[in-house]
């Protein structure tokens, strides 16, 4: 069985997730990605599974199947997320709320639970969740999304405590405005307002996000756990 490390990344068909898949492949990882749609990435060490992370059985099967195929799981990046168009909480449909929670909270939970079991047995691993400045800024119109990302941060911190003795680190990266399809869905007004709220006053690039995630998955970050790295933002 090859010795190359294995990274699991959710939401790899586009945006940050696609960038992360390319980043880890370039670092010599075998990468298993998933998303609801197909991936444009076709290469020997990349395995794509079309699925919704909100599907508990499909997500569990994806994690277990990857380990069965490649024998190990070194990194999990919970990136898949759903950012709806903004609504005041008073005008948020139940369907929108459910869709956000299913993808951003349930989906992360299903992947985290499976990988936590594997990494506990391995007594090694790196977990990074992708959260958002929305959880720190409390912007109007982001009620469902911000609440879901705050839940993800809390899950990450609790898991960091639970897995610390197993040599597994869990951290969150709070991305601010990255120019992706998900950011487009927020609309011009919200995007401009979000950038204005940032300390850096500019959008992030996918490469910048990959650099921070890569650091947290490196041996240099072996003592960093339970942290939220906010990018472009002083909280």
């Amino acid at each position: 069985m090859p010795d190359e490390p294995v990274a699991l990344i959710t939401g790899t068909s586009k945006g940050i997730g696609l960038g992360l898949a390319r980043y880890f492949l370039a670092q010599g990882y075998r990468v298993a990605g998933c998303s609801r749609s197909e991936s444009p990435l076709v290469t020997e060490n990349y395995l794509h599974t079309p699925l919704s992370v909100a599907d508990e059985q499909a997500t569990a099967a994806w994690v277990r199947g990857t380990r069965q195929r490649w024998g190990r799981v070194d990194v999990l990046v919970c990136n898949a997320g759903f950012a709806p168009a903004t609504h005041l909480l008073a005008m948020t449909d139940r369907q929108v709320w459910d869709a956000v929670v299913r993808t951003n909270v349930d989906g992360a939970f299903f992947a985290l639970r499976e990988v936590a079991r594997i990494m506990t047995k391995q007594r090694a691993g790196r977990i990074v969740t992708i959260t958002s400045m929305a959880a720190a800024l409390h912007l109007e119109g982001t009620g469902a999304y911000a609440a879901s990302k705050a839940a993800l941060v809390e899950m990450t911190k609790v898991l960091a405590r639970e897995l610390a003795s197993s040599n597994v680190t869990c951290n969150a990266v709070g991305v601010s405005m990255v120019m992706t399809d998900a950011a487009d869905a927020l609309g011009e007004t919200v995007r401009a307002r979000a950038v204005e709220k940032l300390t850096l006053k500019r959008p992030l690039t996918v490469d910048e996000v990959c650099g921070v995630v890569g650091f947290l998955c490196s041996d240099a970050a072996r003592t960093v756990t339970g942290q939220v790295i906010q990018m472009g933002l002083v909280t």
């Binding site: 569990a60 099967a61 277990r64 199947g65 380990r67 069965q68 936590a116 079991r117 594997i118 506990t120 047995k121 007594r123 639970e162 003795s165 197993s166």
Partner: protein, 103 residues
């Protein structure tokens, strides 16, 4: 899969836990050995490791193309209702039924 075979796999899991220092000493498993409950020898990390180890060992007994066998705490709880402890015997009985359904 027979109950005795499952208990043998459980014994091997305990041996692995002992060799990796997740439990202090070797344990001779019988059907009354507690996995969860007041007299369990396993802390939470050792219990998770034990469950994954058992899933792996059971999977190795299945057909090569079979999906990984998995144990659900909720299903085990439903199989063992209103009990303060989970014993290896109960887990073995559950596993016999679950592997039969998995096949």
């Amino acid at each position: 899969m027979k109950r005795e075979h499952v208990l043998q796999l459980i014994q091997e899991c305990f041996d692995t836990l002992a060799s990796s220092d997740l439990i202090k000493e070797k344990v001779h498993v019988d059907g009354q050995t507690q996995l969860l409950g007041p007299n369990s020898l396993l802390d939470s990390i050792a219990f998770v490791t034990f469950m994954v180890e058992l899933e792996d060992r059971i999977t190795q007994t299945l057909e090569p193309d079979a999906p990984m066998f998995s144990l659900s705490i909720g299903d085990i709880h439903d199989f063992n209702p209103d009990k303060a402890a989970l014993t290896t015997g109960t887990l073995a009985d559950f596993t016999v039924r679950a592997t039969s359904a998995h096949a």
